[in-house]
């Protein structure tokens, strides 16, 4: 009578090492009931993907966990949700398993422990980043004085030369890319698919379209998803869009700036109507609105539908994104003043810590989700529906 054990009994398994097994059991319990019920199959791809399987291996379950967008629809619709003795709670159990899978895929392995205390790690990374850049600036400029003067006419590079920036950020970026790439490769390998399966153009097109539009937060009938409570709302999707596209625009600002610098030899500062400026301003605004909104929703959300343990990780990531936007905008606004030096150091420090924590924080959800959505597109194409 396995299936009637309650969620509390199941998650009572002691010991950290058994945690993942307990989470796998819990997710399997949920999926077994869902597979016999199937009422939710129209909500999202998790249910059709589940129906393609008869038994649920740990690998399958982790894939399903990363396919779930935590929209909560299936929780509120579930006839077996607690207090029912079957205690079905798909978003919560998949959310917990998802968090655990981030640790498992992380590269290099030992650094996965950084997930455990994400809030603390982020704060330390932040302090470290700012201090490091401060030291660099001081060392290069012979003391604190130039940092607080306004003699540089708004020119960043007078404080920290372009080359120094490129070297520090470039090396961090390379490591981050490697770590993220390895993590994604771990995810893909565990899914049982080979590298060749990555080459399906149509599936990529579908997956990217679904991901960039956040299709699964539309809700069927475009009513939005049931988040942060049982009522339909588009809020989460909108705030996520602000965040994601804000981040992408900020990134684009850096990239166009670099191209200006190296390809055309146009050196900052740029005109207000220049691409780096436009991207940066819009991106910064997006990062002010989006993460703040997501945090607000997160704090308001129905605690039944999430993984409480994950909150620290989410908040840390959200806070860094917000700070990136805020300090970037401040830098733009006050660059002509004596605050430039400090603002620059702080902004770069924030960006640096955002970078280093990326492979060990909430950022990874984007990559694994994309991979899962792609895999889902691939599987459904193979099946012909």
């Amino acid at each position: 009578m396995q299936a009637t054990e309650t969620a509390t009994q199941r998650s009572a398994a002691p010991g950290q090492g058994q945690r993942i097994d307990a989470l796998i059991d819990e997710a399997r319990h949920n999926m077994t009931i869902c597979n016999a019920c199937r009422y939710c199959e129209g909500f999202c791809p998790v249910f059709p993907a589940m129906e393609r399987r008869r038994a649920f291996s740990p690998e399958d379950l982790k894939y399903l966990a990363n396919l779930c967008h935590n929209c909560s629809e299936c929780f509120y619709a579930c006839q077996y949700a607690p207090p029912h003795e079957f205690a079905v709670n798909v978003p919560q159990s998949l959310s917990k398993l998802r968090t655990e899978s981030y640790r498992q895929y992380a590269w290099p392995g030992p650094l996965a422990r950084l997930f455990d205390r994400n809030g603390l790690v982020t704060a330390l990374a932040l302090a470290f980043g700012v201090t490091l850049l401060l030291l660099i600036a001081i060392a290069l400029n012979g003391g604190l004085a130039p940092l607080v003067s306004n003699q540089h006419g708004g020119d960043f590079y007078a404080l920290i030369p372009h080359n120094v920036m490129v070297i520090t950020f470039g090396s961090v970026a390379l490591f981050v890319l490697l770590a993220l790439g390895m993590g994604s490769a771990n995810f893909w390998r565990e899914s049982g698919e080979g590298a060749r399966a990555l080459g399906d153009g149509k599936s990529w097109r579908q997956a990217l379209a679904e991901t960039f539009a956040l299709r699964h937060l539309h809700g069927h009938g475009k009513v939005g998803c049931t988040y942060p409570d049982g009522y339909h709302s588009h809020a989460r999707r909108y705030f996520h869009h602000f965040t994601f596209y804000g981040f992408m625009l900020s990134f684009a600002a850096t990239v166009t700036g670099t191209i200006y610098h190296y390809v055309f030899g146009w050196v900052a500062p740029y005109e207000l109507t220049s691409l780096p400026k436009l991207f940066g301003t819009l991106g910064g605004i997006g990062l002010l609105i989006g993460p703040a909104g997501l945090l607000y929703l997160k704090l308001k959300r129905d605690e039944n539908t999430g993984d409480g343990k994950q909150l620290g990780m989410d908040v840390a990531f959200i806070a860094l994104l917000w700070l990136t936007g805020a300090t970037g905008l401040a830098l733009m606004l006050f660059r002509e003043t004596s605050a430039l030096g400090l603002l620059l150091v702080i902004h770069l420090g924030v960006v640096m810590s955002l970078f280093v924590t990326m492979p060990y924080g909430k950022f990874v959800h984007g990559l694994y989700r994309l991979a899962a959505v792609y895999r889902n597109a691939l599987e459904s194409r193979r099946q012909g529906h």
């Binding site: 009931i33 199959e41 059709p48 629809e73 006839q79 077996y80 207090p83 003795e85």
Partner: protein, 475 residues
């Protein structure tokens, strides 16, 4: 019953001065409450369950049957009045009020649009197993999503809902409803209104009443739906002289996994492999033709069959050939490499089970197995015969599911006219009493069951009852 955790606090005036009182909290009650609001009436709705359990049996449903003359966005082809009515006629064996049945069938055509108007969503047409149907429209997310949507709409439109409010008794003045005695948070309140809609479901969760109808065997029944359908309103209506309709032993009973919870097991406890093997009773003996008919008819007969067996238990036994051929159910089957071992695991007499299987295997005739048609695989010379899909049970591993009677709902109710008004035993209509849903479904379904018709009756009569009650209250 679960202990009340959030007994509602009532403000003064919460219980009085309403035009329409709706008793019940499932699909029929919600449709009535919304329809009464459409008439501009003020509405008070009383649901005996706490909020987390609101919605009655309706939360376990997945579709509703709907007539349509052309394909719609949620239904394929066409399903016309005649065919629909024939389906009803066939399953009820003619025990139906034809005028009412046809009225419901015709009205069902407008249901899905009305539902969508309140935000109800249906399954997209490209689903997997539950995809777009010809006769039935599937609710996206099932009945609980539907019920939530209605509750949100009711909230938006200002319907006053009180949970954990069980109406105990109705007080009539002749053939006019005067007030209801309602227990809320341990206190009894007197609630009056200009008109009342009673939509409180059947009495299937009331063990004492089931026992009255079925005898002590009913102690072994499991209830597939809510524990809150205690039938108190039905009893009170009958006590007040309502004209009853239907037979208390009629209702819908299916064979479900014996390990299911006593209440609210819902859809996942069904066992769908009966026709792929044999079914034996406690004594290891077969007792009915497992190949008689297709799902859902097969599904609907086995509940009653098992109720008649000793200890009201049965065991569906299959072998490796059945694997993957039926909908998975929630409990894993018992499994063994030999029949002896399986018998021990299921607590069945070994010798008797082996003898039953040997006789069965010897009687199986050669044929072409095809589960999608009534095929030519059958037995010869045993009692009872298995008339289709008979294959030898000889390929290990062997599987066994214990089966019990699962009651879906009861049909005993009170008689109504086409305006949902209730008849008194005298033959007159009550002044201001309207019925909807399972409490009056027996007018149309005297016996048997057409899948998805329960929600149709509830939606159609809920809308009529609400509209009429709202109308009555304003005149």
């Amino acid at each position: 019953m679960p202990k009340s955790t959030n007994a509602p606090s009532l403000g003064s005036g919460d219980l009085v001065h309403h035009d329409v009182l709706v008793i019940g909290g499932g699909n029929a009650a919600l449709c009535a409450a919304l329809s009464a609001r459409e008439q501009g009436a003020s509405v008070l709705m009383l649901e005996s369950a706490p909020k987390v359990w609101r919605g009655g049996n309706s939360i376990h449903t997945r579709n509703l049957r709907s007539m349509h003359t052309a394909p719609t966005d949620v239904l394929t082809d066409a399903y016309l009045e005649e065919e629909f009515f024939e389906d009803v006629w066939r399953v009820t064996g003619g025990k139906t009020n034809e005028a009412l049945a046809r009225m419901v069938i015709r009205a069902s055509e407008t249901c899905t649009d009305w539902m969508k108007g309140y935000g109800v969503r249906f399954q997209p047409s490209l689903g997997g197993t539950l995809h777009l149907g010809r006769t039935n429209a599937f609710f996206l997310g099932g009945g609980k999503a539907l019920v939530n949507t209605y509750y949100h709409a009711a909230e938006r439109l200002g319907v006053k809902v009180i949970y954990e409010a069980e109406a105990q008794q109705l007080v009539f003045d002749g053939k006019r409803f005067d007030h209801a005695l309602v227990s809320i948070g341990g206190e009894t309140h007197q609630v009056s209104a200009k008109a009342v809609v009673v939509a409180s479901g059947g009495f299937e969760s009331n063990q004492a009443w089931l026992e009255e109808a079925w005898g002590p065997v009913s102690r072994n029944f499991l209830i597939r739906g809510t524990r809150f359908n205690q039938g108190k309103m039905l009893r009170s209506l009958l006590d007040n002289g309502a004209k009853s309709i239907g037979d208390p032993t009629q209702g819908h009973a299916v064979a479900i996994d014996a390990r299911s919870p006593k209440y609210d097991g819902g859809i996942v406890t069904r066992v769908d492999c009966v026709s792929l093997g044999i079914v034996v009773n406690r004594d290891g003996e077969r007792f009915y033709d497992e190949g008689e008919d297709f799902w859902p008819k097969r599904y609907a007969i086995w509940g009653r069959l098992i109720a008649r067996q000793p200890d009201q238990i049965g065991y569906s036994i299959t072998d490796a050939k059945a694997v993957g051929r039926f909908m998975p159910s929630v409990f894993p089957p018992e499994q063994a490499d030999t029949l002896e071992e399986l018998a021990l695991k299921l607590d069945l007499p070994v010798a008797s089970l082996l003898k039953t299987v040997d006789e069965f295997n010897a009687a199986v005739q050669p044929g072409h197995f095809d589960h999608s048609v009534l095929d030519d695989c059958r037995t010869r010379g045993i009692t009872p015969e298995k008339t289709h899909w008979a294959q030898r049970l000889d390929e290990p591993p062997f599987f066994g599911y214990p089966l019990r009677t699962g009651i879906t709902f009861t049909y005993l109710g009170a008689e109504v006219d086409e305006k949902a008004r209730m008849y008194m035993a005298s033959g007159e209509l009550a002044d201001n009493v309207f019925l909807a849903g399972e409490i009056m479904a027996g007018n149309i379904l005297g016996q048997g069951y057409v899948a998805g018709f329960g929600m149709t009756i509830g939606t159609v009569f809920g809308r009529i009852a609400g509209t009429e009650a709202g109308h009555y209250a304003s005149t």
